[in-house]
Subunit: 132 residues, 2 copies
DNA sequence: ATAAAATTGTTATATTATAACAATGCGTAA
DNA sequence: TTACGCATTGTTATAATATAACAATTTTAT
């Protein structure tokens, strides 16, 4: 039987918790370091948990940073439509939750007629604090 | 003085040429392998050329694949607004060049009021061939 | 021509991620 | 119950991606 979709294993819970607590996106190996006291010892354990949490939509990967953030959107159970705002200076990352944008992108069609089932958008700039 | 913006060094030309010839996005180490006969021997040489070519807008990095493609848009001299269509099955990648989309994204403002100077968008799905 | 600055070459190593297999747990049919 | 099959977790090793640090060379300004 495949794992129930709403069940998190111990490792998955540990990894999720640390990502949720963090104010910044976390790198896989910094997660590994933090959770070693809890018995997670090796990279594959972290990467497996990350993969699973991504599939469940509990976290997202910031591709340009190879880092992971918790999904702020409670209703997000599958992460097929993501948009982030990233500050080039302080590296702050926030998930953009904008219905117009999601609708626009979900309905976007290019001339090839290819149909998309997933997208990821990353915006870069300076956040208000850093612009001052 | 900093390097003139339209001048490519030998290594940069070699790397650009191989990326332009390729039908698929190329990985850094596959580029390295291909250009070793031309005298490029070590990773930093490839990565420097890639960085420079990206800044010039001659190539783009597909973040979700850690791979590099040539920019198809001749007028692209700075790569601050990119959008790609990626097939999950055959891994084909095409750059989307759609004025409406670029305009929409360039003008996008989220509620924080943060102003963006760059974005990268990656769409995933099945291309026409693979959908059949 | 020569010093300063920038670029390129080279070695080594850091960082990110996965393959491969062993150990463990877990449902289920006999 | 038990033992078989299968999924999950643990472990070791290594692959793949990327950069730091410094030496050699080339370019530029004077």
């Amino acid at each position: 039987m495949t794992q129930k979709i709403d069940f998190l294993s111990k490792n998955q819970q540990i990894v999720l918790e640390i990502i949720e607590k963090a104010k910044e996106p976390l790198k896989a190996y910094s997660i590994l370091f933090s959770v070693q006291k809890k018995g997670i010892k090796a990279p594959p354990q972290v990467y497996r948990a990350l993969d699973r949490l991504i599939k469940l939509g509990k976290i997202h990967k910031i591709e340009s940073k190879n880092a992971f953030v918790a999904c702020k959107n409670d209703s997000c159970t599958i992460s097929n439509a993501t948009a982030f705002s990233i500050c080039d200076s302080c590296e702050m990352v926030t998930e953009i939750s904008n219905p117009k944008l999601s609708k626009y992108l979900a309905n976007f069609q290019d001339k090839t007629g290819m149909r998309y089932n997933k997208y990821n958008l990353e915006f870069f700039g300076l956040c208000k604090k850093c612009k001052k």
